[in-house]
């Protein structure tokens, strides 16, 4: 295995096998992109069904039970199966390149994280075909969730548990990668902002997800093994779930938004041809947001009855987050100030983000005011707010990143005309859908309403909202057409199509599987820009050409995830028939067996030899 195989033409079967066993962060990024994109479409379809149901009063497009499944799965899918993996797609594609590393710290775990996420996501959706998906809301408040009949919520519990484990591994992986594997000269305060946000988001994952893990275990025990954590009649307490869920859930919001901030920072700096304004302040704002993110979870619970003292403390703490977020907005504006602003699709998304997210931030502060939240809470005002931050922030960021990083990931540029059409349709549709919802909420429409009555003054607003949703749907279809068109055309671009600033643009698009032939020497923030302004074409190497150590591919992560998937099904159905316990044992046996193999079988990787690298360079 010491010859270069990257350029060989491969058959379809061997490509599939390659992706099933890959531990290369760039291929895993593509896997995340495809899987996350698929779930994004699925969640979008669910959203459209919701908006069709609410297009007029007392509509009967779907039944109450099915509607509840739709809203639950829309939220769960979008957060856990679309936004998170798409963030991971860009983290995988870009972070190792931005810090000048040849791979991540734990390539095997990276692959395992992906497959766990995928099989967890599939398990979540199996419910649709076996008598009903989860129907207790994506927040799954107890005791509604613990008493929900059928297996829907069981799929939610096991599916999230499995995919959550994958996410946790991803988080640890990126923390270690960023700390241990930076290229010579890449100090912390020279790291691109996307890497910084990925770093802080990974730390948030590490400290937030275990709370969800525990919550899900307690729910699993209550539903499957008759424990009574959330059963008031047996001394249980349903509010515990809310605390555990939001101790995880609030940092989760920052896990999503911080990397999006990072993507915007890269794009705004690149297309203004300016260094990011107030880089140091941006870094500290990121860290501060991450830190404060853990102090504010109870602002989701102002109406639970925590008392005025707790409500006030959490209100003020939440408002404090507006300060570092404001710092970021102003730094972006002043990066643009005095720049040379090129407007293309990626930049359009970034520019559209600024006003949209500012509105989301405004309503965020308004929601933080506990005594005003008594009116907003659990209404369409909240729906409007979090879609303004999650769509206007995260989704805009992901779409911006798709256009910006596409050349690096695939070597082609997405069509600009179609891209701009997508942007404008989506942007207008987005504001149509969600702006009006602020008012619907205050006009008396609570969230998760299957129908609203006639004569409540809510008809027009809901109609506008539904029309907007369809505009976003059309925009998404055009994006898909764009992807297909660009892939078919397959016009290759060079290493640095955007005249960009950071290390990933110093190597070919797409990069060779070993990334950097020689690790680059980093001489400051925006290392590539520094070299370019000094008239060099690329980075100065920090080491002589030598052998490169690479990890081996492995099929174990896939099998291990299948094992957990089988065990998950077993756990769900042993409630009906104890024979299913055999599936638990088989599945866990497979998974633990894989772990044992991994632990005991030496996996030393292989070397690409210097001579082969030289030969390749000459070709």
């Amino acid at each position: 295995m010491s010859t270069l195989v990257a350029n060989e033409k491969k058959g379809f079967g061997s490509t599939i096998w390659d992706y099933l066993t890959t531990v290369d962060h760039k291929k895993i990024a593509i896997l995340y992109l495809i899987a996350g994109g698929f779930f994004f479409l699925l969640g979008g379809l669910e959203a459209l069904a919701i908006r069709v149901q609410l297009i007029k009063p007392m509509n009967d497009f779907v039944s109450a039970g099915f509607y509840n499944e739709l809203i639950t799965m829309h939220g769960t899918t979008m957060i856990f199966l679309a936004a998170m993996p798409l963030i991971f797609a860009f983290m995988n594609a870009v972070v190792p390149l931005q810090i000048g590393a040849r791979d991540v710290a734990f390539p095997f775990l990276n692959s395992l994280g992906f497959w766990l996420f995928l099989f967890g996501g599939i398990l979540l959706n199996v419910g649709w075909f076996t008598g009903g998906a989860a129907d207790a809301g994506w927040t799954a408040y107890t005791p509604l969730s613990t008493t929900s009949p059928g297996h829907g919520v069981d799929y939610y519990v096991l599916g999230l548990q499995i995919s959550g484990a994958g996410t946790l591994m991803g988080g640890i992986n990126f923390l270690v990668t960023i700390i241990n594997m930076r290229a010579p000269g890449m100090t912390y305060m020279r790291m691109p902002l996307f890497t910084w946000t990925a770093f802080v988001a990974s730390a948030l994952i590490l400290f937030a997800f275990p709370a969800l893990t525990v919550g899900l275990f307690l729910m699993m025990f209550d539903r499957m093994f008759d424990s009574v954590f959330f059963d008031a009649a047996m001394g249980g307490n349903s509010v515990i779930w809310q605390h555990l869920f939001w101790i995880f859930g609030h940092p989760e919001v920052y896990i999503l938004i911080l990397p999006a901030f990072g993507i915007f920072s890269e794009i705004i700096a690149t297309f203004s041809k300016k260094r990011l304004f107030g880089y140091t302040a941006m870094v500290f704002a990121t860290v501060l947001i991450g830190f404060l993110g853990f102090m504010v979870w109870a602002h989701h619970m102002f109406t639970v009855g925590m008392g005025p003292a707790a409500n006030s403390i959490f209100a003020v703490a939440t408002m404090a987050i507006a300060v570092p977020t404001g710092i970021k907005i102003f730094n972006w504006l002043f990066t643009l100030w005095g720049g040379n602003i090129q407007i293309n699709t990626a930049m359009l998304w970034a520019l559209g983000f600024i006003p949209s997210f500012t509105i989301g931030g405004m309503t965020g502060v308004m929601l933080a005011a506990a005594s005003a939240d008594y009116q907003y809470h659990d209404t369409y005002f909240v729906i409007a707010h979090f879609h303004y931050v999650i769509v206007g922030g995260v989704v805009f960021g992901l779409l911006a990143g798709t256009h910006y990083f596409w050349p690096k990931m695939f070597g082609t540029i997405l069509d600009e005309t179609l891209g701009k059409i997508t942007f404008w349709l989506f942007f207008i549709g987005f504001h149509m859908t969600f702006f009006i919802q602020h008012f619907l909420g205050l006009m008396g429409m609570p969230r998760r309403y299957w129908v609203f009555l006639e004569g409540q003054g809510l008809d027009l607003g809901n109609l506008i909202s539904s029309i907007g949703a369809f505009l976003m749907g059309i925009a998404t279809i055009i994006l898909l057409i764009n992807v297909v068109k660009t892939s078919v055309k397959n016009e290759k671009v060079g290493a640095d199509p955007w005249d960009a600033r950071t290390l990933e643009w110093a190597i070919p698009s797409p990069p060779p599987f070993y990334n950097f032939k020689q690790l680059p020497l980093v001489r400051g923030l925006d290392p590539l820009w520094i070299e370019k302004t000094e008239g060099r074409k690329g980075m100065t190497p920090a080491e002589p050409l030598g052998d490169i150590h690479m990890p081996n591919n492995s099929f174990l992560p896939f099998i291990m995830s299948v094992g957990f998937f089988i065990a998950g099904l077993g756990f769900i159905y042993q409630k009906d028939n104890l024979a299913w316990l055999s599936a638990v044992f088989i599945g866990m046996g497979i998974a633990l067996g894989c772990m044992l193999v991994r632990s005991l079988k030496d996996d030393l990787g292989y070397h690409i030899h210097k001579e082969d690298l030289q030969k390749e360079a000459k070709e």
């Binding site: 241990n180 590490l206 047996m234 001394g235 307490n237 005991l600």
Partner: protein, 206 residues
């Protein structure tokens, strides 16, 4: 130089677990993992504290817990932590045989702890009919202590597997990090038990 030579240098460095980049990554990554585990147990402790008086008219902590048994268990586990430190000490001195002996003692002590824990649970279930279904307190108790017990089982299996796998080939730079993080895991389990001893048992009896 082949892979084998790199991993079996003539003079083992004094920190064999961190001599390679892979070892350094494992070392750091495992510390992070333990950080996540800390949040996991903190959540379980929080849940337990919220529910420990919710006995639903059934057995309470005062009825159940006897400190004698728990004291023996604590001593076993604390001692096993110490013996695993000895094992790591010998690893750093490249004394494979002594390392294996001390790891063996660690495992024996851990198994002893586990035996007492199983006895304890059986005792509660049979003599008090106290299960995770009897009250929210029961659910919280068995989940918290059971999670810790599960960690002990996993840790023991891990150390035993490593001992068998490497019994013949001795120490090298590839397996040193594995031994080291397994012992880190074992220390973590021990620290968690100290909290369980305090929060569950001492505070439960008082």
């Amino acid at each position: 130089m082949s892979e084998q030579d790199v991993l079996n240098p003539k003079h083992m460095p004094s920190n064999p677990e961190q001599a390679t980049l892979e070892g350094k990554n494992k070392f750091l990554g495992f510390w992070f993992f333990l950080g996540g585990e800390t949040v996991l147990f903190a959540s379980l402790f929080g849940t337990y504290l919220a529910l420990r008086d919710s006995t639903n008219g059934g057995a309470s902590s005062q009825d159940l817990f006897g400190l004698e048994l728990v004291f023996i268990m604590t001593m076993l586990l604390l001692t096993s932590s110490l013996t695993s430190v000895y094992a790591m000490y010998h690893m750093k001195n490249n004394d494979f045989k002594r390392m294996m002996i001390w790891l063996g003692i660690t495992v024996a002590l851990g198994l002893g702890f586990l035996g007492f824990e199983i006895y304890e649970f059986v005792h509660y279930i049979h003599d008090y009919e106290f299960t995770m279904r009897s009250s929210a307190f029961g659910s919280a108790f068995y989940t918290l202590v059971g999670f810790h017990g599960g960690h002990v089982v996993f840790g023991l299996s891990w150390i035993i597997a490593l001992m068998f796998r490497n019994a013949k080939r001795g120490l090298n730079l590839y397996n040193a990090p594995k031994f080291y993080i397994a012992s880190l895991y074992w220390h973590f389990i021990d620290v968690v038990w100290v909290f369980i001893f305090t929060v569950v048992y001492l505070m439960g009896v008082l």
